[in-house]
């Protein structure tokens, strides 16, 4: 039983740790963190540009 517990704990540490390192490594290589001010604008587009609110209180 103790060995099962240890196997699960060690296994999940390796799984979580490796996944995190892989994800972060990919993000750095892919240039995901290179230009924060540009990336912050990625949710805006030509139809909903920076400077235009997209919501307001509706009619009664």
């Amino acid at each position: 039983m103790t060995s099962t517990v240890i196997a699960i704990v060690v296994g999940s540490v390796v799984l979580f740790g490796a996944a995190t390192v892989l994800a972060m490594g990919w993000a750095v290589r892919a240039g995901q963190f290179d230009n924060p001010s540009r990336d912050a604008r990625s949710i805006f587009g030509p139809d909903e540009p920076v400077g235009e609110p997209t919501d307001a209180f509706p009619a009664d």
Partner: protein, 494 residues
């Protein structure tokens, strides 16, 4: 920052609007199904909550039925709101945000409908099973044994769907909200499977079960609900006010530091319990380190909002989201302090903890999710909300309700702890002292319930097509003064 952008051409604008409308319309079926199911579980959970709450100050309430004993009703409440409402509304939000941020239309809608149905079936078995007496006495895992296969299959489908959407992305940048959603859909299934395996399928020995239990209990909030809530606010606040996040760099730091520190926090639930001292101490350190991601999020959300606070008068989505985001800071600071052993000596095992849990799950997560629904659903159905008065009723019932709830149980819990630590105070005095506060909690619960009913009516009206069509320009709840009209003009063009 905003001044450097060149105005888009009308053709570009129309093209982008078409693309966005196409993505939104592809999400309609599955996302509305998740959202409507979530609201159903919210209402069911609220009824159970009020029954459980009343029983604590009026012990002869509904005593004739074994199905409605406090132990069963409270468990059923926790499952209905925690696993039913919170997870399903979180998945509705994650689904829509993932499509929008990947700029990809929703793929495999039938799979998502199957996943949501499995979750709903699991929840019916869960709540009915608990009321029938099949619940298990492990907090947060109270569901009967036959429930977990439904939930595991459902979340497995959902997580795989998230990856399938991501690989079809047309947007090269992975926005911080996507990081949060990925983290949630990756962490939660692993967390759940490991916990169910170690507690029920191959039960580990005594103390280890306890450790796994609270590793799950705290991480359900920290690694499943919190990332979705914070991620949602990181999209909604900038999007609604039309201004990029104050410091995007800080948002990334916040995400990775949450990933690093939050998984440690669960053991602070066992301070003073029969676990090795280093385990709870390490957890206290992890909890205190949570100040880093929390301060990062707090600075970012606040600084993004500076100059736009007047918009809280008009936008329900913004008002709910900002309320939730501010509460996130408050509840996280409080949580870190609660992990200190000296503080726990008083606050632990009292109503203080109950108040804290509700501030997090309701004041933060639920309020952000209401903001998400207010923003998202009109874009899916093409209808504005039916009544601004009902929205206002919803907001004030919820905001005042959770505030009364939090204040009454925090005060009650603190003095409860002080009295229990004093051997000269008879136990009966502690019980009598709590009665008015518990009654106040019931009043707060009813108030929140009224808010939920108002929202349920709004949702049904919206789905039934009773609201005005979108595209004719919104009419504001309060007429904006001229200075605000300029800033809100963009919304009118929507």
């Amino acid at each position: 920052m905003a001044a450097t952008t060149t105005p888009p051409s009308p053709a570009d604008r129309a093209q982008a609007a078409r693309e966005r409308a196409e993505i939104d319309s592809s999400c309609r079926g599955p996302v509305l199904y998740y959202a409507a199911s979530a609201v159903f579980w919210l209402i069911a959970g609220t009824v159970l909550a009020v029954v459980a709450s009343i029983k604590l100050h009026s012990p002869y309430f509904l005593t004739g039925s074994e199905y409605l004993t406090f132990g069963r009703v409270r468990m059923a409440h926790l499952q209905a709101v925690g696993i039913g409402w919170s997870a399903m509304v979180g998945m509705a939000a994650a689904c829509w945000l993932m499509c929008r941020l990947s700029r990809a239309t929703l793929v495999y809608p039938v799979l998502l409908v199957v996943a949501a149905t499995l979750w709903n079936v699991g929840m019916v078995l869960n709540v009915v099973g608990i009321l029938l007496g099949h619940g298990r006495s492990v907090e947060w895992l109270d569901a009967p044994a036959y429930v977990s296969p439904f939930l595991i299959t459902s979340i497995a489908i959902f997580s795989a769907w998230t990856a399938a959407t991501f690989v079809r992305r047309r947007e090269p940048h992975v926005y911080v909200t996507q990081w949060y959603i990925f983290a949630a859909v990756f962490w939660f299934p692993i967390l759940y499977v490991i916990t169910v395996a170690m507690i029920f399928w191959m039960p580990s020995g005594g103390v280890v079960q306890l450790v796994v239990n609270w590793w799950f209990g705290h991480n359900y909030l920290g690694l499943w609900l919190t990332p979705i809530g914070v991620g949602s606010a990181y999209y909604l606040i900038p999007k609604i006010i039309g201004r990029p996040v104050h410091s995007y760099y800080l948002s990334i730091v916040g995400f990775w530091s949450l990933a690093l520190f939050y998984p440690w926090a669960g053991m602070h639930h066992l301070i003073g319990g029969p676990i090795p001292a280093w385990l709870s101490t390490a957890s206290t350190v992890g909890s205190m380190m949570m100040f880093i991601p929390v301060i990062a999020v707090a600075i970012n959300h606040h600084m993004t909002m500076v100059g736009s606070f007047h918009m809280l008068r008009y936008s329900p989505a913004l008002r709910f989201t900002v309320f939730g985001a501010m509460t996130y800071t408050l509840v996280s600071f409080q949580g870190s302090i609660e992990s200190l052993k000296s503080f726990s000596e008083v606050a632990h095992f009292t109503h203080y903890t109950v108040a804290h849990a509700h501030l997090g799950a309701y004041g933060f997560f639920t309020m952000v999710m209401f903001g998400q629904l207010y923003y998202m659903i009109p874009r899916l159905t093409g209808r504005e909300w039916y009544s601004a008065r009902l929205i206002s009723l919803h907001f004030w019932c919820d905001a005042v309700g959770i505030s009364i709830y939090f204040v009454s149980l925090t005060v009650a819990g603190w003095w409860q702890g002080r009295m229990m630590n004093d051997p000269n105070v008879p136990w009966g005095n502690v019980v009598t002292y709590l009665l008015p506060y518990l009654f106040t909690r019931s009043v707060a619960g009813v108030l929140m319930g009224v808010g939920h009913l108002a929202f349920a009516v709004l949702l049904v009206a919206n789905l039934a097509g009773w609201g005005r069509r979108r595209g004719t320009g919104p009419t504001y709840f309060a007429d904006p003064p001229p200075a605000d009209q300029k800033q809100l003009a963009g919304a009118a063009a929507d």
